[in-house]
Subunit: 356 residues, 2 copies
DNA sequence: ATTAGCACTCCTTATATTGGAGTGCTAATT
DNA sequence: AATTAGCACTCCAATATAAGGAGTGCTAAT
């Protein structure tokens, strides 16, 4: 066999094992490989190769006399070697597109629907992470007087996210005062990066004269309180029940671990937030998520962005034994759709020309 | 035995069986009853009574030679006969109180925290249902111009709920116009029941003169769009993973059924919404929830109200075999706390004197 | 009405028994 | 040197069998 070098075959066999295991959920043995994939070698040869692959850490044995099962390292190789990414079927793409056409929902709801669709199409758990809006820019900040001590601050970002927060301000302001302050603020902060607001506002204040002492006070409180609403990231999780249908999690302890993370959204948020510097779809296999309780899971995730700023992440969580090819295509498609939706909103606001 | 009539004993035995089953999760037999509860009758007598109770539909047999297990009817009797409700321990009450002291969170977040606490203290799944705000009254409605076609409507209710929605209005309004309209609106609608706004506004409009044609148009759209934001009820669910720890749900099919309902929040919302005419804590046992998938669960729920209007519901979902006494006390306490919190907000707004 | 006595049921647990899937090794083959 | 046939060996998974026990239901005695 000159054509198929040893290395080549080894890799091919590894891929076959993993591919087959992903679909069958059963450890795969040498005979199976030959039967289903018509390799022109004997079972014994396969066995030798399998033993090699095990020595190199790509596969394991549940017990002496059972077939092989991929290790994390094996999955990693498999995912990295997926060259031609499966595309979604036309039907699927249309179904998704349809959902986003002529819709004018508030962004929060879009995200919720998105995670629901992710879960339905993947049959795993779908998520969308709307991270802190600190990377976003201010479109408007509206101060509304509620009663004596309470002011409602509504922040609208350039990408269309809306956050509100009740602020306690002990000094009595009347509506007129507040309105003036409001206009002044919006003249100065529109378009600013939210994370810069603190420093910027102080700088700009020197150019405008602030009418009253107390307004300065209020501003201070605003800076302290209103903009830590920007910190609160939101995580939409849907289809958590799908996890139950996975044969991989027939063990109750494994299940409980996973639900520990799901219930404690904070944990999950942390995992997801620390992992998205890059662009493009990323796959976190087992321990790669650096979360002990997720060692039996894989996460397929991508970011979405408004303009050039990374805004948040979306994706799916499932067992390590998942159809990566399909899932990557799915997540990728959604990330693109969301990008489109976000940038449409942004264009409409800034009035930028469509080209470029 | 003149003192203990037959009926009395029968009921007592029923209570013992259920009480013991709730704590042990094992079918209870005649011997056990005598051992643990020191009845002065023989096992045979107990057996006769048990057989009677089974004939009457309060108990069943998993199989011929096992102890008795309550039926839904049995649980119903048990719950109805719980006269002296257990109170929470001081420690627990303090822990809860502490959480609500000097906090000034937006109401949505309060609800989320509340459901989390419900789940933690019950070890089951906690929920808070913020129903459609239609039963609430308007405190303020603020219109904020976003860009050409989009207006952000922020509705603040008397009880402190905040809803926002982006409204599409094709005609271009400038901020000044909008501001005027806004002031006009708030002069007229503050304090109105949200469900009456449609009719009321039309009536009131005849007393004020509306400046421009287009404002009328805008108003119409507002009425159509802004106030169906009132329809969206929100369901906060926490601690779903706790369900996994229940030995009652060691069966995967049962688990899946429950998670079907949990994932499809809409279903759960419907169940909960149709069930809260009454005041006070209610217990829905098994099929009483009229939801097939919840036939293995019980729901302990109570409403909370602002003033005299029922606002929403909160409670816990767990297995039928739950410590009802404790759970009822827990849910009751939370409902009272939330009532207090809500009415505090309301008082602060209306400036009503604290007494009465 | 209550109870002792006892046969009977059926679950639960433990223990063998078996078949088979799959491996790893050795020695023969190309 | 790589491949392969042959075979012993391992261990799981399924099935059968047995023993123990918890608990019932019935009958007859109190």
């Amino acid at each position: 066999m000159a054509r198929t070098s040893l290395q080549e075959r080894k890799q091919k066999i590894l891929q076959i094992v993993i591919h087959h295991y992903i679909r069958s959920a059963k450890p795969v043995g040498s005979e199976t490989i030959i039967e289903k994939y018509k390799l022109e070698v004997s079972p014994a040869t396969i066995r030798n190769t399998l033993a090699d692959l095990e020595k190199e850490g790509f596969l394991t044995h549940p017990h002496t006399s059972s077939g092989r099962v991929p290790t994390d390292k094996g999955y990693r190789f498999y995912v990295d070697s997926l060259v031609q990414l499966q595309r979604l079927t036309q039907e699927e793409e249309q179904r998704i597109d349809h959902e986003y056409e002529n819709q004018r929902m508030e962004l929060g709801r879009v995200m919720q629907e998105t995670s629901k669709m992710l879960s339905m199409l993947s049959h795993y758990t779908g998520f969308v992470l709307t991270p802190s809006v600190v990377n976003d820019q201010v479109r408007r900040l509206e101060l509304i007087k509620l009663d004596g001590n309470n002011i409602l601050a509504v922040l609208v970002t350039v990408s269309g996210l809306i956050r509100h927060k009740v602020i306690v301000f002990e000094g009595n302001t009347n509506s007129a005062e507040l309105g003036e302050l409001n206009r002044m603020l919006n003249r100065n902060i529109a378009g600013l990066d939210i994370k810069d607001i603190g420093t910027e506002i102080i700088r700009k204040l020197h150019t405008e004269k602030v009418k009253q002492e107390r307004n300065l006070q209020l501003l201070e409180i605003l800076l302290q309180q209103a903009f830590n609403l920007a910190d609160e990231s939101e995580l939409y999780l849907e289809g958590t029940g799908n996890i139950l249908s996975q044969p991989d999690f027939s063990d109750y302890d494994k299940l409980r671990n996973i639900f520990k993370v799901i219930d404690e959204k904070k944990m999950l948020t942390d995992v997801l937030e620390t992992k998205f510097e890059d662009r493009g779809v990323r796959v976190l296999i087992g321990e790669e998520s650096t979360c002990k309780d997720l060692e039996e899971c894989s996460i397929v995730t991508s970011t979405y962005r408004a303009g050039d700023k990374t805004m948040g992440a979306l994706g799916i969580i499932g067992p390590k034994r998942m159809e990566y090819s399909k899932m990557i295509a799915l997540v990728d498609y959604f990330s693109k759709i969301i990008n489109k939706t976000l940038n449409r909103q942004k264009k409409e606001h800034t009035g930028e020309p469509r080209k470029k």
